[in-house]
């Protein structure tokens, strides 16, 4: 009988433990830290210290980007800007973004394989909208290195992640800047 009295407490502890686990799993930040910003008549909901924002309209996805020297600019937590990148406001820019795919809440690029040529990728940066158009989509062997053809005098964006179909491949999506608003 005595042992039966302990059952509800154990169940409550179990539930609490599960909630903690789910919170860790989701890694969600509190909503009170969000604000709105208007860039070229587009209202963007973002964290207060927004550095840049990746918008993929086709996937209805927006991802905050952090400065290359920001500790949050790491692939385990966010979409990351690779150090070789030149930001969109620089001449002949080359913005290379990498993010996880696979399982988990940080698998931000899980669906970018659904993007096709001519789809748009938008970067909000320094009060401008940089609109890119996808020109190439390819996979190469996953070796820790991707090969990029730098387009002359062009402003490029690269999205890369693991292939969701073949874990030995790396997906590389190339886009060219078409418009700046």
């Amino acid at each position: 009988m005595l042992k039966r009295n302990y059952t509800p407490k154990v169940l409550w502890l179990f539930c609490f433990y599960c909630i903690i686990c789910i919170a860790i799993y989701n890694q969600r930040l509190p909503q009170s830290n969000m604000t709105n910003k208007v860039i070229n008549n587009v209202v963007i909901s973002h964290k207060k210290d927004l550095y840049a924002l990746l918008d993929i309209p086709k996937l209805n996805s927006k991802y905050e980007l952090f400065a290359m020297n920001d500790s949050r600019n790491n692939v385990d937590n966010n979409v990351t800007i690779l150090p070789i990148s030149k930001m969109p406001d620089e001449k002949h820019s080359l913005l290379i973004l990498a993010a996880h795919s696979g399982s988990g809440q940080n698998a931000y690029f899980n669906n970018i394989d659904k993007l096709n040529i001519t789809d748009e990728i938008i970067i909000y940066y320094h009060d401008h909208r940089y609109i890119y158009e996808i020109t190439n989509k390819s996979e190469e062997n996953k070796t820790g290195i991707i090969h990029i053809k730098k387009e002359n005098d062009k402003n490029q964006i690269i999205l890369t992640t693991c292939s969701t179909k073949d874990l030995s491949k790396q997906l590389v999506i190339n886009g060219l800047l078409k418009d700046v608003e």
């Binding site: 154990v10 990351t80 002949h92 990498a98 002359n152 690269i158």
Partner: protein, 485 residues
């Protein structure tokens, strides 16, 4: 028989000549002209008189004495004779004096009669003295000098021809020419054969050169105060007389020659010196303005597909040609091309050049990790360059520095990488559009970058199950077992 034939011939001759020349006429001394006295004087005789008209009996036409020292003592029996009894020059002179003297224009005052008479006497007998006096046999006076000068002026004007008389004028077809008579006597002339292409306006002629012709324009001056020529009357026993009459017309002419002129412009490419356009540029379509030396635009010519332009029948003169619009893909030629069209230089050939718009293309081909400061140059990489029609223009190959260059004329081109280093992709085909001249080359940095990427595979779900859920379930099962056993 011979004598009879000769007699008949003489009689017939006299009869025929008589019909032509012998025309008996009578004259009489008419009214006096008051207050004008004249003197005729030579070494033998002195005749003084009050000025008085001589008139022909048949029609009262005034007449002049042409034998100053012969007395008129017959009223009848005058016959017309050929004026060749007087030297031609003298007869022409006295005819003109009689024409422009009394009765001409406003010379209606009777004073003009003795003035004319005195001038005729002086012409007939220059060695004698003829003058006016202040009374009958009075003192010599120099009067009527202005009137005499006026008559002389009229005679001089009679002889004066237009300043362009007997000249030849060459005209260009389609143009008008105005010729001005600097002697200002053209108003007295008319064209013998009127033409719609020749108009006389006061002292100038306007000629319209519509057709290629070579013609003489004849002008004539006729005086119409009298309908018949002056007549010389002879009398064997009385002074000879003359009447004023129509004077000989004056003819003059000019020669008109209408020709064609031609300006031919040949367009050449400045680099090749050939009439062939480079690349996708077009020498044709270039527009040139034709300007006179006052910078007034006369017309324009457009270069055709044969790289030529022709302008016909530009009038004589100095001009210059200036390009106003270059053909597509060519730089405007700022050169001034002067030329002159003359009678001796009616066909002008001008070679004009245009420099094609061109630009140097430079390709730097590299590969490797951009973190390494020395990316490797990609040598021996061949690029094919195609024109807008897909025709191969040329190929270029990178050197040991991964560098290749070429200068291309105006146009759109597609560049295709032909080969690549093993393990690297070729660059996508790219287009080159050369529309503007620039000394700065178009540089293409074609880099094959090797970029290190982090591991982008996420297995957080597995971690979740492994690290949290499985231990949790295991724990629950353990606690349950402990509590219920």
């Amino acid at each position: 028989m011979k004598k009879i034939t000769l007699f008949i011939t003489i009689i017939l001759s006299i009869f025929l000549l008589g019909n032509n020349l012998v025309h008996a006429e009578g004259f009489y001394e008419g009214e006096y002209i008051n207050n004008i006295w004249m003197v005729r004087k030579n070494s033998k005789r002195l005749i003084y008189q009050t000025a008085r008209f001589l008139k022909r009996s048949s029609d009262n036409q005034f007449a002049y004495c042409v034998e100053p020292f012969t007395i008129i003592n017959a009223q009848q029996g005058y016959t017309e004779i050929d004026p060749n009894t007087i030297s031609p020059n003298t007869w022409e002179r006295v005819s003109l004096l009689a024409y422009y003297g009394y009765g001409y224009g406003n010379h209606t005052d009777p004073k003009w009669y003795p003035i004319t008479q005195i001038m005729i006497w002086k012409a007939i007998d220059p060695s004698s003295d003829f003058y006016f006096t202040d009374s009958l046999n009075g003192n010599r006076i120099n009067i009527f000098q202005a009137e005499m000068a006026e008559i002389e002026s009229l005679i001089q004007r009679y002889y004066t021809q237009p300043s362009f008389a007997n000249q030849e004028f060459t005209m260009v077809k389609g143009h008008n020419k105005t010729i001005i008579d600097n002697n200002q006597v053209l108003t007295n002339y008319r064209l013998t054969n009127p033409s719609p292409y020749v108009n006389i306006h006061n002292n100038s002629i306007e000629i319209i050169a519509n057709d290629l012709i070579e013609t003489n324009l004849e002008f004539i001056k006729e005086e119409n105060n009298y309908s018949i020529p002056p007549i010389l009357y002879y009398h064997a026993s009385s002074q000879n007389l003359m009447t004023a009459g129509k004077i000989n017309p004056i003819n003059t002419n000019i020669k008109i020659k209408v020709i064609e002129t031609k300006l031919e412009v040949n367009k050449l490419d400045k680099d090749t010196n050939q009439a062939i356009s480079q690349g996708q540029a077009h020498l044709e379509g270039s527009i040139f303005g034709i300007y006179d030396m006052n910078d007034q635009k006369i017309d324009q010519v457009i270069i055709d597909e044969k790289m030529q332009a022709t302008f016909n029948n530009l009038d004589f003169g100095k001009y210059y040609l200036k390009e106003e619009k270059a053909g597509i893909g060519y730089l405007l030629d700022e050169t001034i091309y002067p030329f002159e069209i003359t009678e001796d230089n009616t066909a002008i050939h001008l070679d004009v050049t245009n420099e094609v718009i061109k630009r140097k293309i430079e390709i730097y081909k590299k590969y490797g990790n951009p973190h390494d400061k020395n990316m490797l140059p990609e040598a021996n990489i061949q690029f094919a360059i195609y024109d807008i029609n897909g025709e191969l223009v040329t190929t270029i190959i990178t050197d040991e520095n991964g560098y290749a260059s070429i200068t291309l004329p105006y146009g759109k081109y597609k560049v295709k990488q032909i080969n690549t280093t093993e393990g690297y992709q070729k660059v996508d085909d790219f287009e080159i559009d050369i529309t503007e001249e620039d000394i700065e080359p178009l540089t293409y940095n074609l880099d094959n970058l090797e970029i290190e990427v982090p591991n982008t595979y996420s297995n957080q779900q597995t971690i979740f199950y492994g690290n949290y859920l499985i231990p949790c379930i295991t724990g629950i099962l353990y606690v349950k077992k402990k509590l219920y056993t």
